[in-house]
């Protein structure tokens, strides 16, 4: 590895602008003649919109327009789509209710937009919004799964009787029944996977501009995937034709899934910019984020695990109800199905698995993929089951896991996934060593003497990342392909631009992707720049989510590089009068092996562009493109062990140690990888201890600000002890698996397993707040 090549802890190139206040986020952008949008949102969870009177508002200072849901329908703007079709057990397609960008007739969750005010200033727009009179007729609301599926419950959408979106299944029901009939022991558990608010620190924002002369639209938006936004805005929402729409996602302040989706606000801003003939800016505030950013998780499950007399797993049966909120968000349907049930085998040999998933509408904010998306829910379920089983079977939880680990690869699970490679023993052993697992009983005894309840909890997660082989996801109902593109431009002076369809909103692509180039060419990363986030610059791409940027986007870069190198070698060979096969690339030079003859990259590049002396028949220029479609998912896996203490007086949990042993395949920049793990762990721990959405019985969001929704703060978390065990991913040339979601997937079970170990009973749901833990202890 070079100092800036693969494996080097290179400090990030992008940091300088961020630490000096020069980052450029959407709200930082100003346009000449910009106007401001403020949305009028439903205060009711379920109501008919009887009328909207904007006469008074139109008279207020600075008001340019008040636009309503009916106008958006009249202009034939398309309803929001869900891009993954799921088929129910009975063969029927999922039942989608219509979701217009602003509600013309019925509102179905608190915060749903019914109208928008456009004004000269932000304050004027908000002032005028209060003068718009919306007449609602309230309807009964169903704020949770239980209420929604009750016979006689209020119905959200006529298309979805019983508020059921789908009733889907995966696996072999008969085989599982058979397995349970032979079981020596059965472990059962009811689990809730709590609903979360993603809360990227930058609130969503959009600026739309319609250029009348060019009939061209520009949209700045806080997006993880600007190309998908453009595709959806043009192909499905009919707002602007694709070739007349430029979508720019500049610096984006975190996403975690919530900025994948194309939300009503950017649709409306774009549509309104043409209507009012002015650039329109909308910047959400945190309160709007709580109400309208797609929430995550929200499963209620019953799980049963069958063991034989030797404590080998025979089968797993799972029934899950997944709350989708009031509408089906862009990828929501796939989350509790193909991103969840397919991972229920965890790290274990489970001969038979059967999972049923019932998707439910409720009068709440729509739910979609949030960091980990389905895989945290699967991992939490199986890892709590394993810990519970170990206690019930009276065996050490690490022993029970080891006994059931998959050790032969590739391994075909009964739930679609074929794990390519892994070494689960290596990661659990590393984690056990790091935390001194053997010494735990003594530490527990000592803590007890000090009046503290100490516990240890394990979680061995596996995830499917590098999303995803297009053909495979297509056959499962996906509406898009999930390949990635890259274009490499070597400029005449030898500097390099890498255009990628991935998008960085904190992940450090501007550094990691440069390291791949530096590794191959031996040029300093200062010579390389990464271009992303602008549909005018990068032709197409699928964006960043599902830990896919490196495994899929990075591989596309490698594929494009291979083409660039092949051509450059031809040019070099021609210039050096050598055979192409004798050319090697070292430290930015093309050398003839075994000689001292060489030519530097800038000279090769210059030759390519001057084209004075190129090999016969070669086109000038040095620029190549690749589209890479993965052949399989990648399977990052690892073992997390958490040791903590519970204060029996208050129920408060404090960490003693948290160790993570991950297998991400090859690490391009270990410093960045560790950062991703830290952030993921914080979100997983946040879910376990602090975060949880609460709606009241009428569908009002109780946890609607940081005053009531507990965000992990610095003093809630420990420093983490990380290590890596490595099996290289055979599916891509870099050998990488992805690291962005692991922490969020694996951490929560480790924490809850540790607390239930500490308090000696299993009656605990997430978030394990001090109040809940205290009640679990004291009844």
């Amino acid at each position: 590895m070079g100092v800036e090549g693969i494996g080097a802890r290179v400090v990030r190139k992008e940091d300088r602008r961020f630490i000096t206040g020069q980052g450029r986020y959407v709200d930082d952008v100003k346009m000449v003649g910009m106007s401001y949008a403020h949305f009028i949102r439903s205060p009711h969870a379920h109501a008919k919109v009887k009328g909207i009177d904007s006469a008074e508002a139109m008279k207020m200072p600075g008001v340019i327009a008040v636009l309503t849901g009916q106008q958006i329908v009249d202009d034939k703007v398309g309803n929001l789509i869900c891009g993954w079709a799921i088929t129910s057990k009975d063969g029927s397609p999922m039942k989608m209710g219509a979701w217009p960008a602003m509600a013309p007739e019925t509102v179905r969750f608190v915060g749903q937009a019914v109208a928008v005010v456009i004004a000269e200033t932000k304050n004027q727009a908000r002032d005028a919004a209060e003068a718009v009179v919306v007449n609602y007729e309230e309807l009964p609301a169903v704020p949770d799964i239980k209420a929604a599926i009750k016979p006689g419950a209020a119905q959200l959408h006529p298309e979805a009787p019983g508020n059921i979106v789908y009733d889907w299944h995966l696996g072999d029901e008969a085989a599982v029944k058979d397995a349970f009939s032979k079981a020596a022991n059965v472990v059962t558990l009811d689990l809730t996977n709590n609903r979360l608010v993603p809360n990227a620190m930058e609130p969503r924002a959009a600026i739309a501009h319609y250029d009348q002369a060019e009939e061209h639209y520009t949209l700045y938006t806080t997006s993880q995937n600007p190309h998908v936004a453009r595709l959806v805005l043009s192909a499905f929402y009919n707002i602007a034709p694709e070739h007349k729409l430029r979508v720019i996602a500049p610096d984006v302040g975190g996403g975690f899934g919530s900025k994948i989706y194309i939300y009503p606000e950017e649709m409306v801003a774009l549509w309104a910019s043409k209507k009012v003939g002015r650039p329109v800016k909308w910047t959400g505030d945190r309160s709007e984020a709580f109400l309208t950013d797609a929430h995550g998780r929200d499963h209620v499950s019953k799980a049963e695990l069958a063991f034989d007399k030797d404590n080998k797993i025979l089968g797993l049966r799972v029934k899950t109800h997944a709350n989708f909120g009031a509408y089906m968000s862009l990828f929501s349907s796939a989350v509790p199905t193909y991103l969840y049930a397919t991972l229920l085998s965890g790290q274990y040999v489970i001969p038979a698995i059967y999972a049923e998933v019932i998707g439910v509408y409720t009068n709440t904010t729509p739910v979609d993929a949030y960091r980990g998306a389905g895989r945290p829910e699967a991992s939490y379920l199986i890892e709590r089951m394993m810990e519970t089983a170990a206690r019930q079977l009276k065996v050490d939880p690490t022993e029970l896991r080891k006994k059931n680990f998959i050790t032969q690869f590739p391994y075909q699970t009964p739930v679609i996934m074929a794990y390519d490679i892994g070494d689960f023993h290596a990661s659990i052993d590393a984690a056990m060593k790091a935390i001194d697992y053997a010494g735990f009983p003594a530490r527990k005894a000592k803590a007890k003497a000090d009046g503290k309840l100490r516990g240890i909890g394990i979680s061995c997660y596996i995830e499917a990342c590098g999303i995803a082989p297009s053909k495979a996801v297509g056959s499962l109902g996906a509406g898009v392909g999930l390949w990635e593109s890259a274009e490499i431009r070597v400029n005449p002076v030898g500097t390099i631009e890498v255009l990628t369809g991935s998008h960085s909103h904190g992940q450090g692509h501007e550094t990691t992707f440069c390291q791949i180039i530096a590794e191959r060419l031996g040029v300093p990363i200062s010579q390389v720049s990464i271009v992303h986030g602008d549909t005018d610059k990068v032709q197409f791409g699928m964006g960043t989510y599902g830990s896919r940027s490196l495994a899929v986007g990075g591989t596309a870069i490698v594929k494009a590089m291979e083409k660039v190198e092949a051509k450059a070698k031809k040019i070099a060979a021609h210039a050096l009068e050598a055979s192409e096969s004798d050319i090697v690339i070292e430290n930015g030079e093309f050398k003839v092996t075994g000689t001292d003859k060489s030519i530097a990259l800038p000279m090769v590049a210059l030759a390519a562009y001057t084209a004075h002396n190129l090999p016969e028949g070669m086109e000038p220029g040095l620029k190549e493109t690749a589209f890479y479609d993965p052949t399989n998912f990648t399977f990052p896996a690892g073992a997390y062990i958490c040791e903590l203490e519970v204060d029996p007086g208050t129920g408060k949990t404090s960490f003693v140690n948290f160790v993570a042993a991950d297998d991400f395949g090859r690490l391009i920049n270990p410093m960045i990888v560790e950062g991703q793990v830290h952030g993921g762990l914080a979100q997983g721990i946040g879910q376990a201890l602090l975060e949880g959405v609460v709606y009241d019985g009428t569908g009002q969001l109780v946890t609607a600000s940081f005053m009531d929704y507990s965000m992990p703060r610095a003093d809630d978390l420990p420093s983490f002890q990380l290590s890596h065990t490595t099996t290289l991913c055979p599916g891509n040339p870099l050998g990488v698996k992805g690291c962005g979601e692991a922490g969020a997937i694996g951490a929560s079970a480790a924490v809850i397993n540790a607390i239930t170990d500490a308090i000696g009973n299993n009656k605990l749901e997430m978030p394990a707040t001090p109040d809940r833990v205290w009640h679990a202890i004291h009844g």
Binding site: N123, D127, L690, T703, F706, Y709, D716, T769, P770, D771
Partner: protein, 266 residues
Amino acid sequence: MYETNYHRASSVADAAATFAKGAESKFLAGGQTLLPVMKQRLAAPTDVIDLSKVQEMIGIEVSGDTVTIKGATPHYDVAQSDAVQKAIPALANLASMIGDPAVRYRGTIGGSLANNDPAADYPAALLALGATVKTNKRSITAEDFFKGLFTTALEDGEIITAVSFPVPAKAGYAKFPNPASRFALTGVFVARTKAGDVRVAATGASQSGVMRVAPIEQALKANWAASALDSVTIPASGLLADIHGSADYRANLVKVMGQRAVTAAG
């Protein structure tokens, strides 16, 4: 935020006079409560009168057995004050636990008391220490000052100019923060006066705001020790219940924080 008129007062008298002129005036001190409320458009004062630069309202004085904290003194200054740390360390400690550093730089004792949030910290100290609130019109004992959730004895336009605390023999404060807001889910302030009386106040717990805790006072009067509270039970009736803590949990916290406050007091 709704449009408003901002005035910077130069003295207490100036502040009172400017207040009287506005249609719907409000004093602004640290702004750490009023501004968030105004940002959410839950308050719409026509005029805000800034007290934070009124020099006669800033500062800390210790004379004899009394610590006086002037009305617009920020939490940070109280927490850092050598004089307070020496005379009533529990009070400095309490101030150091309010909000976060940025809040403590700007938030003031007068603002906190005037607001009387049921989960605020200062009210527990005032009630347990038997402090007196000084306004531009009168002196009000802590007992008379707090009137329930977000209500006080202050009249419209009345300004808290200072709070005086009698120096106790011993005092301690223990706070269990709300995991989200970091206000007190329950905070208990225990004090033993120089005359030997014991006063205990809890914040964050009761449906009617800061309260004295008689069972703990009795137990501590008999025996000033954390263990004296082992057998005390706090009734859950009348206590707050929300998503962060049920009433019985808060009742437990009153006791446990009471014990920890006694330990802190020494």
